[in-house]
Symmetry: D3
Subunit: 248 residues, 6 copies
Amino acid sequence: MIEGQSKELSRETHDALKRISTATLTTQLFKRGFRNQFIQGVRRVNQNGPRLVGAAFTLRYIPAREDLDHVGVFQDPEHPQRKSIETVPPGQVLVMDCRGDSAAASAGDILVTRLMVRGAAGLVSDGGLRDFDQIAGMDFPVFCAGPSAPLNLARHHAVDANRPIACGGVAVYPGDVMVGDGDGVVVLPRCLADEVAADGLEQEQLEEFVIEEIRAGKPVHGTYPPNEETMTRYAAWRRKRGTTDGAA
Amino acid sequence: MIEGQSKELSRETHDALKRISTATLTTQLFKRGFRNQFIQGVRRVNQNGPRLVGAAFTLRYIPAREDLDHVGVFQDPEHPQRKSIETVPPGQVLVMDCRGDSAAASAGDILVTRLMVRGAAGLVSDGGLRDFDQIAGMDFPVFCAGPSAPLNLARHHAVDANRPIACGGVAVYPGDVMVGDGDGVVVLPRCLADEVAADGLEQEQLEEFVIEEIRAGKPVHGTYPPNEETMTRYAAWRRKRGTTDGAA
Amino acid sequence: MIEGQSKELSRETHDALKRISTATLTTQLFKRGFRNQFIQGVRRVNQNGPRLVGAAFTLRYIPAREDLDHVGVFQDPEHPQRKSIETVPPGQVLVMDCRGDSAAASAGDILVTRLMVRGAAGLVSDGGLRDFDQIAGMDFPVFCAGPSAPLNLARHHAVDANRPIACGGVAVYPGDVMVGDGDGVVVLPRCLADEVAADGLEQEQLEEFVIEEIRAGKPVHGTYPPNEETMTRYAAWRRKRGTTDGAA
Amino acid sequence: MIEGQSKELSRETHDALKRISTATLTTQLFKRGFRNQFIQGVRRVNQNGPRLVGAAFTLRYIPAREDLDHVGVFQDPEHPQRKSIETVPPGQVLVMDCRGDSAAASAGDILVTRLMVRGAAGLVSDGGLRDFDQIAGMDFPVFCAGPSAPLNLARHHAVDANRPIACGGVAVYPGDVMVGDGDGVVVLPRCLADEVAADGLEQEQLEEFVIEEIRAGKPVHGTYPPNEETMTRYAAWRRKRGTTDGAA
Amino acid sequence: MIEGQSKELSRETHDALKRISTATLTTQLFKRGFRNQFIQGVRRVNQNGPRLVGAAFTLRYIPAREDLDHVGVFQDPEHPQRKSIETVPPGQVLVMDCRGDSAAASAGDILVTRLMVRGAAGLVSDGGLRDFDQIAGMDFPVFCAGPSAPLNLARHHAVDANRPIACGGVAVYPGDVMVGDGDGVVVLPRCLADEVAADGLEQEQLEEFVIEEIRAGKPVHGTYPPNEETMTRYAAWRRKRGTTDGAA
Amino acid sequence: MIEGQSKELSRETHDALKRISTATLTTQLFKRGFRNQFIQGVRRVNQNGPRLVGAAFTLRYIPAREDLDHVGVFQDPEHPQRKSIETVPPGQVLVMDCRGDSAAASAGDILVTRLMVRGAAGLVSDGGLRDFDQIAGMDFPVFCAGPSAPLNLARHHAVDANRPIACGGVAVYPGDVMVGDGDGVVVLPRCLADEVAADGLEQEQLEEFVIEEIRAGKPVHGTYPPNEETMTRYAAWRRKRGTTDGAA
């Protein structure tokens, strides 16, 4: 485990990650030897919602057991699911390990609304969500395996929070940085977030130029990846747009 | 089996179910010990279509066999698929058991149109549907595993109607009540439909209040589930809205 | 294998296929003994994009190997993925065999843009695609297993082009005709394309009439399939619409 | 459906099928256009047990429901599972449709023992079996998806007998002929059983000769399938062994 | 969670469980409302090994990450996998949560040998095991998903011990009682172990009598479940065998 | 692709690989950054057969098509499946890419016998095999997904030989070294075979010593991996057994 890794993202890294696609981030991770940081089987719920960026606050479910998982458990303020909703710090992302089982919900619109009101940065679950249409309409980034009406207690028992978990086949350590867009969610190991954000921003700018070139009829070879000549034109393009403004 | 269970829904139960989410219904069923009434692997085809409510009229498919399943079979007015389209009573839902196999269609736009014209309440299939875009545009509630062009005869042999079936991993007995929304489809055992509708309507109203509270900044604990104080305010809220108007 | 089958589609067949649904085509294929020509697990990316019609130009991936599949490989103009993007002839469809594995992308918006600029007819992949939102916004027919951010090198090694492949469980021979719509993609064996197009166009017209009849209240039996009386009225309907001009 | 197809196998066909491998039978079926008669996901339980041959007597399960499927149901002599055990005629094979779900048992050693005592020809289930070691030790041909301890009521509700079913992805009509060996179970459509048995016996003899030839160093081409010269030697080989003794 | 549940089994319960099949135990659990206590996807490795009985000592894996999971980690005596091998108390069963992923091993013959030498009661993993043949030859009860050569670090990161886990789709709380035989492994909630053992022993004796009756030609109805007459004969049979000494 | 990599294994490497487990080989590969060289979903057919070692000769199947894949194709001596059986060089392993589809056979006992007679080193297929019992009885190493009776033509079309393929999720290049034992099959990239064999042999000897230590009561920590003290005793143990002669 990775005890006590910082959960604070610098403003610079946070803002950069808001502008970098998950595609670019997986390329940056691949270059550093990471091949398995993309959460499988999970999709964006809010088709036009904001991008997801924030440190992971984790919640782990195991399979439900009939005697332990009855509706009475929600009376307990210490119930791990309910407590995690109330304790995830503003700016962080609640990440749920449902063992990829979407036969029941991992949350519904009431809990997601509370998360949003509390200032969380978003929700990622490899299980299902109920009240899917309502959640899809919120201005809040949510990713899950799909709609699923059944009460979480029918399949899931919330067991502990802020421990390392599996989500969609990826290890998620508390404090890792979750970034999500239309392709899905990538998990940035906390120790790499700053450098990946910096290099990713460079890559985004370059690819913005590259796609302009491709639209204008340039062939793939020499353009993507760029050869020296393309890089020279890219340098000119960057100068022309001015210097500090990044990829936006 | 459950021979001869009534297929008539009272107007009151029907109207209540039109206003209750499948999420709420699975909670009501869970409280009564039913954990497996939500059809898995099936989604709404008509994104903005009406909600589905109606008694189940079932059709069962088994795998096709090359000598028995040729296009000539549709000449026969007794062919179970074609006959079921013509005999499902108005207000009922045709529910198809395709063994969860969506490699071929279970119906297409012509048959679905006929169902709609005849006054059926909707269609649920755990197989595929062809002419998906056309069906998605109808004002008729349809749920299936996804689009699939191949002719049903390529995989499915319609064998009998109005027998108990499996659909998406759930037992469906003729006369059970099918309710569908954006989360999917729940199967209400016929014997429970009235009480689940009544209690579900109560739950819907309470949750409408709860979500207002949560939006206004109340914490989950004490609000959901509600403690005594919240219930007192809920009683006031209900009085204020007047009495008979329910959850709508 | 089918060496050297013509890849040229006649204008007539091409235009006919633009007007025939994949549902109709699978029926025509079924009548000829073909039960497995519909690509499974693949869906349309561009919800409102044009229909897909074109001859197949194939690309085959095998699993990646850590020492062979590093970012440096894209410097090589002979890299099979990059080369196939540059060599698929105008009017043809690039079809990728990713072994149905969508854990990584098979391409992204830069390569898809290049394909479009070069005049390819579309893209079909049984793997994932990255930059999904961007691709979904293009006026270019693309079908794949779903969004997936990771770089193709994380899972896929492009090995050869224009060899027979598997795509979504279907054999695709270079030159076979790919047709796609909202239901998905059907593979027409090249040798059948002309006759299937001709008969399919007939079927489309008949079904256009049939659905009008069904909307007007006719029962399935006698209408679909049509009996003699229905065929008589269909003949009149065709005469009334005028000429021989087909289904449009 | 195929109402009233004879369930009586002639002695000749029965004896032939006892000597023909399922591999040979699938080849004979393939030649006649049948590609999907081999039950998928099912294996032999009795490693050294006798081969399975007999007409199908079918039992269908749907998913269990908590209120209907309690241990009390077995008091009812009409319970379909218990009744089918008592009514499958001697010489027939009980074939169970468990929707391929082996998360619970479809039977255990007591019921299998009763089947054996009553003279049934065997058992095929696409679900699990409990008391697997005990059943594996019986001199009785049994095929299933694997061992599974849970009571059938935990997942399965027996609903009707002697109706057409799906088993391991294959249509099984009552009276179809089930044949099983170390490769698994093939379903012979009843109408083809006699001719497939006759031709299969020929094929078995030829392949016995072929494998001798291959062991002696002959190449595949010319031997398998045999060319004229090989057939001449085969004719001699058959004459030498005498005529009536078949493949044994 | 269930903090501090006793892990000590009484000698009586332990001995009873050694004589009760997992089939019988799942029936006892079903009667008490537990439908999901059988570990799915796991099988016995030692075909003729002893039965498994013991309290659960759990180990949890999450997916591996390339920077954290290198061979150097095994130098650390606190590495959770290695430490759990050294700390599972004699008589207890090491139960591993591998998320059902058998693409890599969860242990090999060296660690299993150490477990055996230390007096553990057995091993259950829903992942793979390497050195499968060697483990299969030990006189030690082991259950897993199957053979798998790759080093655990290729897929699995051991994260913590003696926390509630999922194993084969079942919740396992430290101290729950694991029982395994040829059908697989059942998880007895600790609080039920004594009563389930007592009632299970009764059931085993009755079923021993029942199977004798069935072998002797009795029909299922009246025998299984037994009617009053059968129970009278059972009482006599028990008296005749002598004392109260159970099923052995 | 890796054109023209040598297929000749030195005698030393071949003999070493005969004595090294697949578990050890995956560890050696993992240390070199290879995480995905173990063929998934494939098992040993011959429970007591010899170990598999040999260079890969590949055969690729795509899905069958009804018009192309009829029994007549086997008359053609150039049919890729039949030809590969006749051309795989002695000492090499035929490796078949069946897309992991075991619904039909990829070969049967006649072809496997021919392979053996011709001196091939073994067979690996990620599809099924028919005549499973006969093949299991041969003194010839065979690995596949399981028994499957249907003729290969029902699902598979042999398309080309000695091209890079996927087998069980792993890239196999012609000339790569296949090694198989009770855990399954590992694919050694040809360029690594010699060094992996040398280092693997060292590891085998060390683990032989380690397991003796563990059996004698040593703890895991300090023994596995060995600390300095253990290495000293290991050096003595090696000296005592004599020479440099390896692990046997």
